[in-house]
């Protein structure tokens, strides 16, 4: 029997149907993954609120014993304050003599010196179950200014509660007297008309939607992972576990069709989860379970919840990621381990909805999961723009399409049968794995150890990180790389390290060429940074960076250059272009090795605002190193570039008008580029 080529659409239908049938028949897993989470809704709305309420009530009812000494207050204030204390119920007051406390507050000691004294006196005066001390006295004798001081113990629940009650009452007293004084002294309050009265024009339904929008996007991620992961595990790991993978791979079917079919099954399961959750939510609204306290969801309309189905692109992307990750897992167990990282990957970008006043925009709505979460939030509160929904849908569907194409590759026989485990991707890289591992270790070390050192002393810490941590890491990594270089000619360990770190001799023309490119790089950054500021604005508390400026000011120019230009130039190059890039190059294609070292270099700078600038520099540096087979040009370029930035930042180079020095020297760049290209051209010509 010889058949025509099978129709891919029919195959797709067959795969989808068969996978779904198997999913539905797995009743127990279906229950645990999809039904059970849905049943949690009533608890979420009612239970949690109830517990909080009980806890709050218990605290509010607790009778607290407290001591006070109001004898030093001016006569006019004694009675009002005492009344305020009485109003802070339920409390039981007893009087003590707190002259020592008053004396302490009037002494010349600094706040730091007073603190231990206060602690001692509090322990003396407040006995047994008593948990608060209130002392009234005249703080400023000249103006006869009364002060009521409250002493409490923050780690004692009763004391904290009593302090809140008393403060509240005293603040009210103060408010009342301020209002009275304004009328007495000024005739009337000149700013009375500015007591703002808020008029919220949003409807009740929209407000309920906004409340829901603060939590539903994150909740949905968790629930969709629960539902989608169960499906993805069954569809991928289940196939391996039941031993049917080989059978399916020898069928005349394109791996892409297979991947799409399986993804489809996961997507359907995920859609069912989405639907089930929205229905459960609506039932909760209908039954009035949501109409308590903070969870008030009054007036939430059915159509709003239908609109929430627009989250689908986000859900699909989540499915794609789940398939991609769990498709590599050989067993259920292995897949299960991967769930936690995926959950974080999706839940953290969704956490942006905790900031309700962040407006959605075109950039945010294209960020995976962040965009979907913001769009869902806006739909729920009736404030969605079709343009942003469109951007979100197109971008998320695009990401999903990418995952699905990758999925096809995953189901290719070569991969599926020989490197199907989690570490497969890393393993195949062979010796490059060494470079990856050390790159990662380096980034982590700079991040944890480096920042710890710098938190103790910025300058010394920086020096320790650069001259201590990085060279040690570079040398250890280079030594450990020796076993991967068994085929290469190396004599001693020292020789090997020198060669591995790229410290060998270098053609002088490359050094010159590196220097010639510096002005162009500086100019490029000056063009780029304003653009980045528009797309990725820096918050004001970072933009100032006062600490850094203060550090600059305390240093002479030569020291400045050494600390911020030469040191990073030498040490960072040793590690990133030396140890890491050499290792990576051994097991990867050149573009891949360049990409990874760039990523590590950029990640080591630990700031999203410096990510692209450092990546650009890292790319150029990596290219130079690969070209010249030595890190000397990279060191020179790095140091010169940093020096230009630092000196300009510290005001040591006069910041002139548009025609700054780097713009005037930019014509050097073509010459530099020519010097980089020339040897290759000549070699080709000779050949």
């Amino acid at each position: 029997m010889l058949l025509p080529r099978p129709n891919p659409w029919r195959q797709l239908r067959a795969i989808l149907g068969s996978e779904l049938l198997q999913l539905v028949r797995d009743r127990r897993a279906l229950f645990a993954a999809i039904i059970l989470p849905v049943l949690l809704y009533p608890w979420l709305f009612k239970g949690q609120h109830k517990i909080e309420e009980i806890s709050k009530e218990a605290l509010a009812k607790r009778e607290v014993q407290a001591v006070c000494d109001l004898s030093q207050l001016p006569a006019a204030w004694h009675d009002p304050v005492w009344k305020a204390l009485q109003a802070a119920e339920p409390m039981e007051w007893s009087e003590v003599d707190a002259q020592a406390v008053v004396d302490l507050e009037h002494s010349d000691q600094t706040e730091q010196e007073r603190d231990p004294e206060r602690r001692r006196l509090y322990q003396e005066l407040v006995q047994g179950d008593q948990a608060l001390l209130v002392v009234g006295h005249v703080a400023d004798a000249e103006h006869d200014r009364p002060e009521v001081a409250i002493y409490y113990d923050i780690k004692n629940d009763s004391s904290r509660e009593a302090q809140e009650r008393v403060s509240h009452q005293l603040e009210q007293l103060k408010e009342a007297s301020i209002t009275r004084l304004r009328i007495e002294l000024l005739g009337s309050d000149p700013a009375a008309f500015l007591d703002l009265e808020t008029v919220d024009v949003a409807s009740a339904a929209e407000r309920s939607g906004a409340k829901l929008g603060r939590m539903l996007p994150m909740l949905l991620v968790l629930l969709l992972i629960s539902g989608g992961a169960f499906a993805a595990l069954t569809v991928f790991a289940g196939e391996r576990e039941s031993g049917t993978l080989e059978s399916i791979l020898v069928q005349p079917i394109d791996p892409r069709v297979l991947g799409l079919g399986k993804f489809g099954a996961v997507a359907v399961a995920s859609f069912a989860t989405l639907l089930a959750n929205l229905v459960a939510l609506y039932v909760c609204v209908l039954m009035g379970w949501t109409s308590t306290g903070s969870g008030d969801m009054e007036g939430l309309s059915f159509m709003t919840l239908v609109g929430a189905l627009w989250y689908l692109p986000g859900a699909l992307l989540l499915c794609g990621l789940l398939c991609l990750a769990l498709g590599r897992a050989k067993t259920f167990r292995e897949g299960q381990y991967l769930l936690f990282p995926i959950t974080l990957l999706a839940a953290i970008p969704s956490a942006v909805v905790l900031q309700p006043s962040l407006p959605n925009n075109a950039i945010l709505s294209a960020i995976p999961f962040t965009g979907a979460a913001l769009c869902l939030r806006d739909i729920l509160r009736g404030d969605a723009s079709f343009l942003l929904l469109g951007i979100m849908s197109v971008s998320h569907l695009g990401y999903t399409a990418w995952t699905v194409t990758r999925l096809g590759r995953l189901l290719d026989g070569e991969r599926a049968l020989h490197s199907g485990d989690v570490a497969g991707a890393l393993r195949k890289l062979g010796p490059a794995r060494h470079g990856m591992r050390w790159g990662f270790v380096g980034v982590l070390a700079i991040y944890i150890v480096g920042s710890w050192l710098q938190s103790r002393d910025p300058l010394l810490g920086l020096m320790q990180t650069l001259w201590g941590l990085l060279p040690i890491l570079a040398i250890v990594a280079a030594l450990r790389a020796r076993k991967w270089a068994s085929g290469e000619k190396v004599r001693t360990a020292g020789n090997f390290v020198v060669r591995e770190l790229g410290l060998g001799p270098c053609r002088p023309q490359y050094l010159v060429a590196a220097l010639l490119l510096v002005p162009a790089m500086t100019a490029l950054m000056q063009q780029y940074l304003p653009l980045q500021e528009k797309l990725l604005p820096m918050p004001s508390f970072l933009a100032g960076a006062e600490a850094l400026t203060r550090m600059f000011d305390g240093l002479s120019t030569s020291k400045l250059v050494f600390v911020f230009a030469i040191s990073p130039g030498v040490c960072e190059e040793l590690f990133f272009r030396g140890a890491v890039l050499s290792s990576l190059r051994r097991g990867m294609s050149t573009p891949k090795a360049l990409f990874w070292q760039t990523l590590f270099f950029a990640a080591a700078h630990a700031s999203i605002h410096r990510l692209i600038p450092t990546a650009l520099v890292g790319l150029v540096l990596g290219g130079m190193t690969l070209r010249s087979r030595s890190i000397w040009p990279a060191i020179l370029f790095h140091a010169a570039y940093d020096a230009s930035l630092v000196l300009q930042g510290a005001g040591r180079i006069a910041q002139q008008e548009p025609g700054t020095w780097h713009m005037r020297l930019i014509w050097l760049a073509p010459i530099g580029l020519l010097l980089w290209v020339w040897p290759a051209v000549r070699a080709k010509a000779r050949a």
Partner: protein, 263 residues
């Protein structure tokens, strides 16, 4: 597209100089198959005989178009396995001893699923399923989930699954591993039935008695190479040994005079 009847495709399976190299993190480069030659005809049972790790499974997977050979070429029913793996997969049935079944599908659903993947037209497919149920006596359990079947029953469903599209070439990877006596003998009957139907069966095994009983020709594989190919009689004549086990030992010794294999 060439049909098996065309003169160029008179050989069911033809492989020359097959090579497969893997990268393994612990062992480095692994040369699983290092230049293997093979020829199988229609109406013939060909046995691939060798110890575990000889490269049998890898060879069969390359022939089935799941793995791409690192070198050499293979033709199945006249079709190049590297150039058109899909065409190869359409013409072969593949079954290995470790093959499982979808636990939550019934036997009939399994057959229908694989039939649809092969693109068998709907009415023909239903007829074919009934035919297979009849042939392999699946009637009693054809509508129960596969997870509840016994080993022998599963084996029968698996076989039916592998021939749902009635392939000209059947590739079996250690088909009797883990089967009890009854199930194994069912399998052997099935293999013989395929030969009588004029199909080609290529199967790998490390069980000598099975090879002795079934195979028209035997290829002895060791360390990824074919040491010898021929009928049992030819092999005996060549090596001068009577039992297949001894034949195998002689061949290995001839190929590797040094008893310690190179690391």
């Amino acid at each position: 597209m060439q049909s098996p009847e065309s003169p160029t495709a008179s050989l069911a399976i033809e492989a020359q100089g097959l090579i497969k190299t893997f990268h393994d993190p612990e062992r480095g480069e692994v040369r699983a198959v290092r230049g293997l030659d093979l020829e199988c005809r229609y109406g013939e049972i060909f046995g691939l005989l060798g110890p575990n790790g000889a490269g049998k499974t890898t060879t069969l997977r390359m022939l089935a178009g799941i793995l791409v050979p690192s070198g050499g070429h293979a033709h199945i029913a006249g079709i190049d396995a590297t150039a058109d793996p899909m065409g190869v997969r359409q013409r072969i049935g593949f079954l290995s001893g470790s093959t499982g079944l979808y636990p939550r599908l019934t036997a009939r659903e399994t057959l229908r699923y694989f039939g649809e993947l092969h693109g068998i037209p709907k009415p023909a497919l239903e007829a074919r399923i009934e035919e297979l149920v009849e042939t392999f006596q699946l009637q009693e359990f054809a509508d129960g989930r596969c997870e509840g079947l016994s080993t022998g029953q599963r084996q029968r469903v698996s076989i039916a699954r592998a021939v749902v599209h009635d392939p000209d070439v059947l590739i079996l990877d250690e088909p009797t591993t883990g089967l009890d006596i009854m199930a194994a003998s069912d399998m052997i009957d099935f293999i013989e039935a395929r030969r009588s139907a004029g199909r080609c069966v290529l199967f790998s095994t490390h069980i000598l008695s099975e090879a002795e009983r079934l195979c028209d020709r035997i290829g002895v594989v060791h360390h990824g190479r074919t040491l010898a190919v021929g009928t049992l009689a030819e092999l005996r004549a060549e090596t001068g040994a009577e039992w297949l086990g001894d034949v195998f030992k002689v061949l290995v010794r001839r190929a590797e005079p040094d008893p310690t294999p190179a690391a």
